[in-house]
Amino acid sequence: MFQAAYSAASGLSAQQKRIDTIADNIANVNSAGYKARRTDFKDAIYSTLPRMVQPQNGINMEMGHGVIDAANNVKYIQGAVNITEHPLDFCLEGDGFFAVEDSAGEVSYTRGDAFSLVLEGDLAYLVTKQGEFVLNNQGERVAFSGRAEDLVVDGNGMMKVRVYSGETIPDANNPGGVIATEEYVDIGRLGIYSFPNKSGLTSIGTGRFQETEVSGAPFEAESYLLHQGALENSNVNIAEEMTRLIRTQRAFQISARALSVADQMEGLANIIRK
């Protein structure tokens, strides 16, 4: 078969991969903290055609051999912040990831989630839906004694717990009485980390990313604003994805057309002598 057929086939397979990526993005349009991916292409190798007249060298006779998918990178563009007012929902605006540790001690990173509390004795541990522990900036599991409503986190990730002290004052409207004083106790800072090369992180599903050699080591992020009582929506831009889908689908179709024309040309060559 001739080169055009193979080039067309490479186009079909590359465009197919991009359609897969787009489908994945569109399917996750409502997944909190999801980051869209983009498939990029590069042209494949070139070979030099022989030139049948003089001069035989020094003239551009390069012929391309199709296309390869070059990169499938996550784009860490900010997603919209969705206010939930639930005290254990956290999200980040700007750079950074929460560090979470599973029961086996494996650390992964996430852009935020609806966290919950797990009680162990007096201590309430901040955990994710999958039961991973959220870490503070010392790499320790975040724990405090109190209720979910008592945890207050500011924009820089500084955590405070509301503590009630003093006498309860009897109150006609409140059988338990009202609390005389409340104060806020510092319990450290949430661990918000960033990476030199975020595209190098491995996505392990459920909005979790893991550090790799390519991503570099995590460092404490600086340029972020932490929102308590909010979740980050997926950063998938449906209009952009649909536009890219249409373009990719056309490119796929026309690659298929080129393959069919290449095949017809082979057919013609085959019937020169019937």
Partner: protein, 253 residues
């Protein structure tokens, strides 16, 4: 008549190569910074046909019949450096060039040039292209640290508001001497050194799409297909005529 068979064969071979180039354009219609290839075909030099063993012309010893082309060949591949469209990505590390010129990347084979600005910041904080080659500034690789930097339209790289490097953008005296190497890279095979292009701007947060016009390619594909078909028909006709000459002339009864 045998010569005709060979001429139609060169036609078919050339159309196949044109088809290869068109297909390559089509499949790269979504490739970052891809520039369209155009194969130029050309007829072989004319040759003068003369009559031999013809004694009807007394005065002229070898009378002319007239010029004849002996077929067609691929003369060269021309790259169309027309600007591709801009696609906004919002990614700080990605850039597109508006106007003439190329980014410079450092590969094991030496410096290579590219229009594909889908860069990223490596784990060591350097700007790299999609294949991991270092993007070059005026003083070598560009260390931006994190993706929190900005690039001005003139190519100045600003980290924390201070200019720390300038992205190197080059062009060459004769773009016909640029050679595509694959992986969105070009090398320069001609004479003369790299120059700074005039009026080229760098757009941060954009990538340049391919400049292939799918409609045009499909039209070209149809033209090539029909030309190929005609050459094939000619081959068949010549073959049939030869068949007559060989088998039917002189047949008795």
């Amino acid at each position: 008549m045998l010569r005709g068979l060979y001429i139609t064969a060169t036609g078919m071979m050339t159309q196949r190569n044109l088809m290869n180039a068109i297909t390559n354009n089509i499949v790269n219609a979504e490739t970052v910074g891809y520039k369209k290839d155009m194969m130029v075909s050309r007829s072989f030099e004319d040759m003068m046909l003369v009559q031999l063993k013809d004694h009807s012309h007394v005065r002229q010893l070898v009378p002319d019949v007239g010029p004849l082309h002996t077929g067609v060949y691929v003369d060269m591949t021309e790259v169309d450096y027309k600007q591709g469209y801009f696609e906004q990505t919002g990614d700080n590390a990605e850039m597109a060039l508006s106007g003439e010129g190329f980014f410079v990347v450092d590969t094991p084979e030496g410096e290579r040039y590219t229009r594909a600005g889908n860069f990223y910041v490596s784990s060591e904080g350097f700007l790299q292209n999609a294949d991991g080659y270092y993007v070059q500034g005026q003083n070598g690789a560009i260390n931006v640290g994190t993706d929190n930097f900005s690039v001005s339209t003139s190519g100045d790289v600003l980290v924390d508001g201070a200019i720390m490097e300038r992205v190197r953008v080059v062009t060459f005296p004769d773009l016909l001497d640029m050679r595509k190497e694959g992986d969105n890279l070009y090398s320069y095979a001609g004479a003369g050194a790299a120059q700074q292009p005039v009026g080229t701007t760098v757009r941060q947060g954009y990538i340049e799409g391919s400049n292939v016009d799918i409609g045009r390619e499909v039209a070209d594909m149809m033209v090539v297909y029909r030309a190929y078909e005609s050459s094939q028909k000619m081959s068949t006709m010549i073959d049939e005529t030869l068949g007559k000459a060989v088998n039917d002339i002189g047949r008795v009864g």
